[in-house]
């Protein structure tokens, strides 16, 4: 999963084109991570030393690790450590990008270090993200000064897990400015109790139908009652699991029935709300979350304005 995040970072910073990222993400599924990439990633070797070993490999029938030990570049312990790192998630993308000649190992490593710096990640947290720890990824993305920041993080983290569990395992999320969102389809649900909140999925029709089809386990081509029920039920299921988690921590909450709006504009209170863009292989949609349900306005373009 880290590959999706770091891949989008490379894309957003102009280091890869969208087409190159797609190729690299496709290729990484069948990529065998080579020792050179691991060694540089671990900081055991410089890219120049890797090149030197590669040159030697052309002349001798020896493995990368053996030559590196012979040259005194690596210890046997480091080689053993690298063997166990070979299945590390983020390295598949690195190897794919290098194999496709989109970036050198050095460029990839520099970008990785820059990514780590920008997101102010400690080594411990970075290790967690590299291993695909969703909680750590979400925590690194959400920065609010709201007293309920922990609840935001838990909610979004659980949402990503439920997307992976029920909809699509290729998820990339980013926080976006929450204020006004226009949605072709908006599925919302209000939660009442000690810590009330309002939550919604906003999507265009194509993505709405994709989510609906996957969750309903059948191909849905029209945004009819069944498709609407499918996306609604996914949100309801997710909120239900969140309520159980909160209940186990001593906070009892209740859900109201979900609401579906077509062609609507949502206005949320900026200080108390969060908008996450959820990118999946099915397309992009928005997750909206507000701690002040009373300030959420949903305007139906076909009808009069109404408050949710």
């Amino acid at each position: 999963m880290f590959s999706q995040y770091f891949g989008h970072y490379l894309l957003n910073n102009g280091l890869l084109t969208a087409q190159q990222l797609k190729h690299a993400l496709d290729l990484q599924k069948t990529t065998h991570v080579k020792f050179g990439v691991i060694a540089v990633d671990e900081g055991f070797l410089t890219s120049k030393q890797v090149e030197e070993i590669h040159e030697k490999q052309k002349q001798q029938d020896k493995r990368f690790g053996e030559i590196a030990v012979d040259l005194g570049f690596l210890t046997n312990e480091q080689v053993d450590h690298m063997l166990s790192s070979q299945k590390s998630n983020h390295l598949y993308l690195a190897q794919a990008v290098v194999d496709l000649n989109y970036l050198s190992i050095e460029e990839f490593t520099n970008a990785l270090n820059e990514y780590k710096k920008i997101h102010s990640l400690s080594d411990e947290k970075f290790e967690a993200i590299k291993s695909g720890d969703i909680d750590a990824i979400v925590e690194s993305l959400i920065h609010t000064n709201h007293p309920e920041e922990e609840a935001y993080t838990e909610y979004v983290s659980l949402f990503v897990k439920n997307i992976v569990r029920f909809i699509d395992d290729e998820v990339y999320i980013e926080a976006s400015e929450a204020k006004n969102v226009e949605a072709e389809w908006l599925v919302s649900q209000e939660i009442t109790g000690a810590k009330p909140f309002w939550t919604a999925i906003a999507a265009d029709e194509k993505v709405f139908l994709e989510i609906a089809s996957v969750f309903a386990e059948e191909e849905l081509t029209e945004a009819d009652e069944l498709a609407q029920a499918s996306v609604s039920e996914f949100l309801n299921l997710h909120n239900g699991i969140f309520l159980v988690n909160m209940s186990n921590k001593g906070t009892e909450l209740e859900m109201k029935p979900q609401k579906v709006d077509h062609a609507s504009a949502v206005s949320v209170h900026k200080e108390n709300s969060l908008c996450m863009s959820i990118h999946t292989s099915k397309g992009k949609f928005q997750l909206l979350f507000s701690h002040s349900p009373e300030n959420v306005m949903v305007s139906d373009k076909h009808k009069e304005n109404q408050t949710v």
Partner: protein, 132 residues
């Protein structure tokens, strides 16, 4: 002896859940399967069809599943009502069991969970008829 086939009422405001649960119940060879979209419809249908078993959602518009459970149990305390909700919180569970619910299943509803409930009911009913 032929195994008893159950009459089942599904009460859920989601057309998707009703459809999925109906498919599962058909696999379980239930005799008659009827549907209700909310608590009020469920109370009415329960009187008309006299089901052996009801699957009842909790969060529904109008009369919710807990209110409907209370009325149905007042009318027929022997009826088996299984609450099915995505929010299986401790308070919901306690409330439902206090009101006489037979069981509680956490959504998403699976074939295994439904089969286990039906087998349990059939086994219990066999026990009752053997003792008569």
């Amino acid at each position: 002896m032929m195994q008893k086939q159950l009459n089942v009422l599904i009460c859920d405001d989601s057309v998707l859940i009703r459809k999925k649960l109906k498919n599962i119940l058909e696999v379980c060879k239930c005799h008659s399967i009827e549907e209700a979209e909310d608590g009020i419809a469920a109370i009415q249908k329960a009187k008309e069809m006299k089901p052996d078993l009801i699957f009842m959602d909790i969060v529904m518009p109008g009369k919710d599943g807990i209110e409907a459970l209370e009325e149905i149990m007042n009318e027929n305390p022997a009826l088996k009502v299984v609450m099915a909700s995505s929010a299986g919180t401790q308070s919901h569970l306690k409330q439902a069991l206090d009101l006489g619910a037979y069981d509680f299943i956490q959504k998403p509803i699976t074939l295994e969970a439904v089969t286990a409930i039906i087998e349990k009911i059939i086994k219990e009913e066999k026990g009752v008829s053997a003792n008569v």
